[in-house]
Amino acid sequence: MANTNNAGAEALRRLKEVDPPSLLAPNPTLSETARAASQYLFSSIRPFSQKCPLDQLLVDGYDAEQIWHQIDLQTQPLLSTLRRRVNQFVKNPDEIAQLKVPSSVAKKVEAKNHEEWEQESDDFDEELDEDDDDEDDFEGVEKEEKNGGSDGEEEEDDDDDDDEEGSEDEDEDEEGEKEKGKGKDSGIEDKFLKINELNEYLEKEENNYENAEEADDGDEDSEEDDELEKAGEFEMDEDDEDDDEEEDEDDEEEEEEGMENARYDDFFVGKKEKSSKRKDQLVEESEDSGDEDDMESNKQKKRTASTHEKQLEKIQSEIELMEKANVEPKTWSMQGEVTAANRPVDSLLAVNLDFEHNVRPTPVITEEFTASIEDMIQKRIIEGLFNDVQRAPRLPSKAPREVKELDDNKSKKGLAEMYEQEYVQKIDPTSAPLSSKDKLKNEASMLFKRLCLKLDALSHFSFAPKPVIEDMSFQTNVPALAMEEIAPVAVSDAAMLAPEEVFDGKGDVKEEAELTQAERKRRRANKKRKFKADAVKRSEKKARSEKKEDNAIPGQVNG
C-alpha cells in the first residue's frame, strides 16, 4: 500500500514536470504515468467519498473514457458537497468554528481530531484544486486522444460545471434534509418509516442507476453525445431523485396524517370538532415541523424552484380555492328556483340570463335588407320565376258524369215535340238526339271528313267526289279557277251559283269613287224615294191593323 502510494505520488510528481506540448502526442509511458497518478489520487480521495462504489481506480485495459468516468463517479458528488460546504462557510464564517458533522461521514470525521479535521479541510481544498486541475488535464488528454473535436470542449466544461453546481445544490438540499430528518425524527417518523433508512435507500438506488448507465455508455461511439447525455441525465436523475425525495417526504408527512386520522376537517377549512390528543400532538408537531420545514424548505425552494415545483404550487393553490368554493353555500344564481326574496336587490341586472325564445326576433329593417328584397323581386320578374301555386292534379277516380246543363232560355220545341223525341229515343236508340258528347264527336268527324276529302283529291289520279249533300248552307262564290286548281272533278258545277245569283243588276255599275257629282245626287234621290215609299206602306199597314181591331172590338161587345 505504501509502495503503491509512493509510486503513485512519484507518478504524480513526474506528470507535473511534463512539458505540456509533449502531451499533445500520444505517448505510452506518459499514459502509464498518468494512470498510476490517477490511481493514487483516486485511492487517496476514496475515504472521503462515501457514495463511490469503486474501491480503487481500475486502469488496466480500460479506455481513457472509462477511467475518466470512474473518476467522475467519485468526484462528482464529492465536488458538489464540498462546494456547498464552502459556500456555507463563506456565508457564515462563524460556522467554521462550530463545524456540524454530516451523519454518515460524521462517524469517520469524528474519529479524527478537530485539528486534524481542519488540516484535512485544508488538504481538501488543495486536493479540490488538484482535482480540478487533474480533471482539466484529463479532459484535455482524453479529448486529444479521442479526437473529440473542438465543439464539445467548452460545452462539456460548461455542462460539467452546471452539473456540478446543480448536483451541489441538490446535495446540499439532501444534506439539509438529512439534517432535518435527523433532528425531527420523533415528530415525523413512525414505526414504519425512518428518514435515515430512506436516505440510504435512495442513495443506493441512485448509485445503481449511475453504474447501469456507465456500463451502457461504455459501449457507445460518440463521446460528446455520451457526455452530454450523461451530463443531462445526471442532472435530471439527480433533480428527479431529489424532487422525489422531497415530495416523498412531504407526502409521507401527509400520508401519515391521512392514514392515522383521515378526517374531512383536516383537509378543508371548517369545523374542527373531534380530534384525539395524539392526533393533535401529531398535527401540532407536524405543523410545527411542517412550518419549520416550510420555512427552511421555502428558503431552499425559493432558491431552487424548478418548473415542476412551480406548476405544482400553482395547481395546489387552485385546488385550495376550488375546495373552498365548494364548501361554501352556492351563489343565488347557481341555486335552483330563486324568488326575489332569495336574492339581493337588482341582482338580476348584473347577471346575463339565458332565456329560451320561442319567437323569432323581429327582423331589423335596414336599407340593405330592403335592397336585398327588391333585388330578389327584380330578378324574379326578369326570370319570370314566380312561385305560383299550381293545383295538384287530382286523379280521376271515375269517368266524369255527363253534366246536364240547365238551359234557361225558352225552349223552341213544343212540349209535344219533346215527348215525341223522348218516345223515339226509347223506341229507337240509334236515332238518339245529339248530346253534348255527340256534338263534339260530330264536329270532329266533320273536320276529319273534310280533311280526308282534301287529301284524297290531292293524292288520287282518278278522284271521284263524294255526293254533295244538299242542305241549306251558304254558297261561297269561289272562282272556278281556284276549284279547278285543286281538283278538276272535285266539285260539280251544279252547286255553283248562277250568274244571276252572283249579281243581279242592270246597266253600268259604278263604284262610289267613280261617280260624278250628278250621278251621286241621282242615287241619293232614288234612295230617298224608296225610303219614303216604304214608310208610307208601313204607316198604311199600321192604320189598317188598328182599324181592324177597332172594328173587331165593338163586334165582340155586341156578340
Binding site: 246536364k404 213544343g414 215527348y419
Partner: protein, 220 residues
C-alpha cells in the same frame, strides 16, 4: 140409408140428355163510342176567360184543325156564352177523344201555348196541375210579389229552366200556377216551384233540379 151409401161415392145426377144446346156466344161488334153512350151525343163546354179571348180568336184555326180533323170532334165557339163547345160525332174513333180535346182547350184557356197544349191530344198521360201560391205559403203584399218574381226569375229564366229540366210547361198567372206535363215531371216541377215560393234562391233550386234530372235521365 141411401144418403150414407151415397156419401161414399159422389152422386151424380144424370139429367136425361135432353140435348139442350146452349145458345152460341153472341158476337158483337165493338161498340162505337157513339153507341157507347147509348147513341147519344156527348158535349163538353169550356169557358173562355176574358184575357184569353183575343188569343183564341187569333189562334182559332190552329185549335180547330187538329180537333176536327184528327180527333173527329165537333168544336164551336159560343160567342154569347163565351164558351167553346165540343161534341162527339158518330165517327169519333175513341171515346177519350172528347175528353182530350176538352183538356186541350182547357189548357189553352189556362194560358198554355197551342203547341204545348197539343201534346195533350197526342199523348195520353199528360196532366195539368194547378195550385196557388197561398196553398204553399201565406204571403201578403210585397212578399207575394217577390215570390212571384222569384218564381219567374229575370226574363222568365227560372221558369224556363224548370220547364227545360223537367219537360213541363208552366204558366204563372198572378197567384195561380199551372203545370202541364207527365205525372212525375209535374211532381218535380211542383217541388222546385214550392221551394222557390218558400224562399230558396234560384241557384239552390237549380242544383236540386240538376241532380234530380240527371238521375231521371240516367234511368232511361
Amino acid at each position: 140409408m141411401q144418403s150414407k151409401e151415397a156419401s161414399s161415392s159422389m152422386e151424380v145426377d144424370t139429367v136425361p140428355s135432353e140435348a139442350k144446346v146452349l145458345p152460341p156466344k153472341p158476337k158483337f161488334k165493338p161498340l162505337k163510342p157513339h153507341e157507347m153512350a147509348s147513341g147519344q151525343v156527348q158535349f163538353r163546354k169550356v169557358s173562355v176567360p176574358p184575357h184569353r179571348y183575343t188569343p183564341l180568336k187569333k189562334i182559332w184555326m190552329e185549335i180547330y184543325t187538329p180537333i176536327y180533323e184528327q180527333m173527329k170532334i165537333d168544336i164551336r165557339m159560343n160567342l154569347k156564352g163565351r164558351k167553346v163547345e165540343l161534341k162527339t160525332r158518330p165517327d169519333t174513333p175513341d171515346i177519350s177523344n172528347l175528353q182530350k180535346c176538352a183538356d186541350f182547350v182547357h189548357a189553352f184557356m189556362l194560358g198554355f201555348d197551342v203547341i204545348d197544349a197539343i201534346a195533350i191530344l197526342r199523348l195520353d198521360e199528360l196532366y195539368v196541375e194547378s195550385f196557388e201560391i197561398k196553398d204553399v205559403k201565406t204571403l201578403r203584399g210585397d212578399h207575394l210579389s217577390r215570390a212571384i218574381g222569384r218564381l219567374s226569375g229575370k226574363g222568365g229564366k227560372t221558369k224556363f229552366t224548370i220547364e227545360n229540366a223537367t219537360k213541363t210547361r208552366i204558366v204563372i198567372a198572378d197567384t195561380k200556377i199551372h203545370i202541364l206535363g207527365s205525372f212525375a215531371n209535374i211532381k218535380v216541377a211542383r217541388d222546385s216551384l214550392c221551394y222557390l215560393i218558400m224562399g230558396s234562391p234560384a241557384g239552390k233550386v237549380y242544383s236540386k233540379l240538376r241532380a234530380i234530372t240527371s238521375r231521371m235521365a240516367e234511368r232511361f
